[in-house]
Amino acid sequence: MNYVFHIMVMINIYALLALSLNLLVGYTGLLSLSHAAFYGIGAYVSTLLMMKLGFGFIPSLLAAIVASVLLSFVISIPSLRLKGDYFVLASLGFQVIVFSVLYNWVDVTRGPYGIPGIPQPEVLGVTVSSIFTYFVFIGVIALLCGGMLYLIGNSPFGRILKSIREDEIAAAALGKNITGLKVKAFAIAAGFAAVPGVLFAGYMQYIDPTSFTLMESVFILSIIIIGGTGNITGPLTGTVLMILLPEGLRFLGMPDAIAANMRQVIYGLLIIVIMRYLPQGISGEYRFE
């Protein structure tokens, strides 16, 4: 039973990553390869605050969100002027730099050794310890954040973002500050991406930089490309599918060593097929064309 709850926890974590990236990719039409960086910043900032400065869970969660939002400006303000390939490249560069800092700034992050013994979240005097309670805890937070992202997506703000996606020049002609709106969308996505980072650190009680690589960013992006973007169901479909896929392979009796590669082969091919034949993903709204 713990196995099922573990999978549910992972689905919740990736659902939050997918839904927050969806705000950028599906609503605003910006392809970003830096989502794992913000996920990692969330994990590291909250962990370091809890372990080195004795912060509680809630304050460190909030601080992680703030840190992630502030860092998003560093990359978004200069690079959101860039279009198409160039923006993707800039976000990729940011991802590589953040990973490099997490990996090499050994004095603070312990680099490749990782940080063990991260305290379990304690909220209102209750420690979330068993996998089941963690599942409930993370489910509540995921529902809260997911609900907020849903409301943002359907608010007037969300509709303006969609107008940028459909026709940037028309939106600018209607008096919208395109760059400003993109910076906001990027900041919101980064802030929400920090939340699953904090939850992941508290759940695993151990983090190291290899959870926040460029390939992880690619994986998060592929979740929403495959599931679909521009609405809520697309990213959720993608998350469930992509998290259950390796488990399915395991049930087929594939050895773990091959299954890890097999999973990536499948998702690489899925991206190709989706781009060619189903540009809106399995159940998305926005067509990549």
Binding site: L31, R81, L89, G93, V218, E289
Partner: protein, 293 residues
């Protein structure tokens, strides 16, 4: 010490440049962000390894077969992956994502067949040459010579032959090219085969030098991209300058900071160039906002 580091940086730069020249050739003419160039790179090294180390072919036939095979693979990737998407006149991001998908699928197939561990092609210590206080291994010398040879050949093709004129015309305006009665598909075939061969040469040389594993492709294509941006998008020869510049900067980084920060420095450079000089060192002033998406 510094001279040795700079020479090493130059050699690394030559290797980056080869990948970058191929990437740039493809990117400048077709606007395809060819992530799968990294897959081509990995594939070349493993094809050569299979022929030379496993099947025990002679060096020359193995090399020729690898380069020919990779040229064909380059053309096939274009035919079956990019052209159907390009014909839809869609966003280049779709091609970029498909390319990324192909990269992921390919390197994992390679990993499933050959394993994830590093493979060494030439065991033992390589013969070296010394020039004064500077020591170069044989393979480093070959790398520099290959770079000079291929760079020269590319420059001659681009500027002295009809083919080169066609390639440059396609860079400037693909639609006009078809109006002039040239089939863009032919040019694409040339560009993709040539570009892939450049990557293959770099991959084989690098594999002979330090060995290979399935994940080397990502670093190779990313460094190639950074080199193209630094040199200037739209200028074929710029990629060589960018590659050598990147190699030198990274060795200076080893000297001043530490080898661990090489990636961060390369990408910091990329971001700085994208923000402050998106047209690259050699490029004409043209605002990135104005280039088509």
């Amino acid at each position: 010490m510094l001279a040795q580091l700079l020479v090493n940086g130059f050699v690394t730069g030559c290797s980056y440049s080869l990948v970058a020249l191929g990437f740039g050739l493809i990117y400048n003419t077709t606007r395809v962000f060819h992530f799968a160039h990294g897959a081509v790179y990995v594939l070349s090294a493993y094809v050569f390894y299979t022929l030379w180390n496993i099947l025990n072919w002679q060096f020359a036939p193995a090399l020729v077969a690898t380069l020919t095979g990779i040229a064909i693979i380059g053309i096939l990737i274009d035919q079956f992956l990019y052209q159907p998407l390009a014909n839809r006149k869609g966003s280049p991001l779709v091609q970029m994502l498909s390319s990324l998908g192909l990269y992921i699928a390919t390197i994992n197939v390679v990993a499933m067949i050959f394993g994830n561990e590093t493979k060494v092609l030439v065991p033992g210590i390589q013969p070296t040459y010394s020039f004064g206080t500077i020591i170069l291994t044989q393979i480093q010398v070959v790398t520099v010579l290959s770079f000079i040879l291929l760079f020269g050949a590319l420059a001659i093709i681009l500027h002295k032959t009809n083919l080169g004129i066609t390639i440059r015309a396609m860079r400037d305006d693909p639609d006009l090219l078809s109006v002039m009665g040239v089939n863009p598909r032919t040019v694409r075939c040339v560009v993709f085969s040539l570009g892939s061969v450049f990557a293959a040469v770099a991959a084989v040389l690098n594999a002979l030098d330090v060995g290979m594993d399935p994940n080397t492709g990502l670093g190779a294509v990313l460094n190639g991209t950074v080199a193209v941006i630094i040199g200037g998008v739209g200028i074929f020869e710029g990629a060589a300058l960018g590659g050598i510049f990147l190699g030198l900067i990274q060795s200076l980084a080893i000297w001043q900071v530490s080898a661990r920060w090489q990636d961060a420095i390369a990408f910091l450079l990329l971001i700085l160039f994208l923000i402050f000089r998106p047209e690259g060192v050699l490029g004409l002033r043209r605002r990135t906002e104005e280039t088509s998406t």
